[in-house]
Symmetry: C2
Subunit: 344 residues, 2 copies
DNA sequence: ACGTTCAGCGCAACCGATTGCGTAAATATA
DNA sequence: TATATTTACGCAATCGGTTGCGCTGAACGT
């Protein structure tokens, strides 16, 4: 009844063709020292017998798997899940598996996950840092063992490896400039944890825009959250609008907080964008659903994932190359009603 | 310079303790035939030497990995990514990896992915079916080889394995009943592909509610989409509202289409919920952002993922048990303004 | 005619853990 | 005291590829 279907191995193929297993192994991957017709014969028989390569065995021998690890904060966030979608697509095209692990934005978790992934002998790693993380020693194990590490979005300069990012400074500058063009005079900024470079750079872009326009940088209008979630966004907006001299615009470092700002405004009869213009960041689905639609900065999430995956795969191909490049993708300012004061 | 740090193996530990590798192997997993003090000694030395078990080697020997495969349509959808979040959390607590693969709702992709996952020797599989899929032979390979398969949400009755679902019929009934209670007289239903049981059952719940209230079932008010995305939702709403006798309520089988219905209504000056009540399904984040907030049915996404993972892990523990259970989780009707005609 | 080159393939040692079977010593039973 | 049983551990095969090195015969050069 219970048929123990033995799997076909290279040994089966070898003995059937009266050659050695090594020849079969090499033939299957077009090794240069194997004859043309032998390669064909092996592949043909392999196909006929339904041979399935055992990656586990190869991984054991090579002490490296064809699995790419992905460390992110939370899967269930639009930007992250889209990025993973891109990673998965690219990796699966290259015959690689993708294994994911969530840090939940905790430093402790991130360390534990790094250890677990390392123990799983992943062949490459893609990381978007946890909000908390300030030290990066837990990644050096990978680098020391020639396991390519690529950072995406939430990166660090403390480690010398590939990065896939957007120009957060330019994006912050662009977004703030737009608000200024729309006639906003007192622009507040709701940022994220400032040790996370993406948030720091967005804030610096914001400040640079003010400077270039000879506008005062008012520290009391620059807030930074811990998680930058909706609760924080709501409370920070409440704080800002309760100031003696409240802002007439808010540039938020993500859409979640920006949407909360809009909701606070709606609850309190503050007209958007006339009384308060709101600019977000990320182009999350909610930015298009909220009323009025939220102006924001688009993040090429899927592409960032694809490119990060490609970088990992590239390093796996050419182990000799040790260059570490930083790839910066273009962002787009998406102008919607939440900031559109001047009708065009 | 380049220190080839040799990994500690059970052989190193064995020779240092002057015992055999088999003893070390057994001691590390508390095998009954190993003495108490031997177990302690082995574990102590393993800790001191920084021994890391090589799962690859174990997988090769046992011909089964500690990796759980997850097949879903798209990662970047709120329900799916939340579910995966739950799976990952539970699996990682049990020391298992999670590898994901997207079908993009395509039958062909699903088959290819199944084959790839099988070749990866996964130790268990969690599936939420692609929209297109109508045949299920591509999963039998797993069952024949005692690899536990658990279906979540988008399930099928054609296969005899575990399922984690919600009561879609009851949910559809409940949702429609609510609309009726709110005084809606002509309720339309926007459903998904009817060969996918979740959508069929929601539609049947809808019809049952009408029947119980002696309301006519008007076929022209029952539409079913292919992907049930926003474009389809918008067009179907347009179609419905252009009928000679348009509906005064729409029950959509997901939030995406429901939000599109609201947007169509807003674009065309149709008051919600007075002129048109809209009910969604899933409790996606957008349902809370859209104005007016969307009434919907909540899906315990994270829990469904956790439970599915637990089922897989359970089957891995006790291989003898071959029961296949269906676990049905509770849904909640979330009433918001989009259906609230009667002020309470 | 003889040394050289090289394409083409085989040998066998890995990679690290698992496990059925065997065995010696210790303890229990008759 | 002899035998049965239990306790605790070792032996060695096995999982399926991979790869450095070595071998062979034929083509080639002078």
């Amino acid at each position: 009844m219970k048929q123990k279907k033995r799997e076909i191995t290279i040994y089966d193929i070898a003995s059937e063709l009266n050659v050695s297993p090594s020849t079969v192994s090499r033939a299957l991957k077009d090794h240069y020292s194997i004859g043309k017709e032998m390669i064909e014969a092996v592949k043909k028989l392999a196909r006929e017998r339904g041979y399935r390569p055992n990656h586990i065995a190869a991984s054991l021998r090579k002490n490296k798997t064809n699995t790419i690890g992905v460390m992110i904060s939370w899967i269930n966030r639009p930007f992250i899940s889209s990025m993973i979608s891109g990673i998965e697509e690219e990796a699966s095209n290259a015959g690689c598996n993708v294994i994911i692990s969530q840090s939940h934005d905790s430093y402790e978790h991130e360390i534990a996950n790094a250890r677990a992934l390392y123990n799983s002998r992943i062949g490459g790693l893609i990381v978007s840092l946890a909000m908390e993380t300030r030290k990066y020693n837990h990644f050096s194990t990978f680098l020391e063992n020639d396991i390519p590490v690529v950072f995406v979005d939430r990166v660090t300069d403390d480690l010398n490896c590939d990065k896939v990012v957007i120009d957060n400074f330019a994006a912050g500058l662009m977004a703030t400039n737009h608000l200024i063009e729309q006639g906003c005079k007192r622009i507040a900024h709701i940022g994220g944890a400032q040790h996370r470079s993406i948030y720091k750079q967005r804030a610096e872009g914001y400040m640079e825009a003010l400077r270039r326009n000879n506008m005062e940088i008012d520290e009391s209008l620059m807030l930074s959250g811990v998680m930058l979630n909706s609760e924080e966004g709501y409370r920070m907006t409440e704080h800002l609008m309760s100031l003696p001299n409240p802002p007439d615009a808010i540039f938020s470092a993500n859409d979640t907080a920006a949407v909360s700002a809009i909701q606070y405004a709606k609850h309190n009869g503050i007209k958007i964008p006339q009384k308060l213009a709101v600019m977000g960041f990320n182009n999350d689905p909610i930015s298009l659903i909220i009323d009025p639609p939220l102006s924001t900065v688009s993040h090429p999430a899927v592409d960032m994932g694809k490119i990060a995956a490609r970088q990992v795969l590239k390093h796996r191909e050419h182990k000799d190359i040790i260059t570490s490049e930083t790839i910066t993708l273009k962002t787009d300012l998406i102008i919607r009603e939440s900031t559109l004061r001047k009708k065009r």
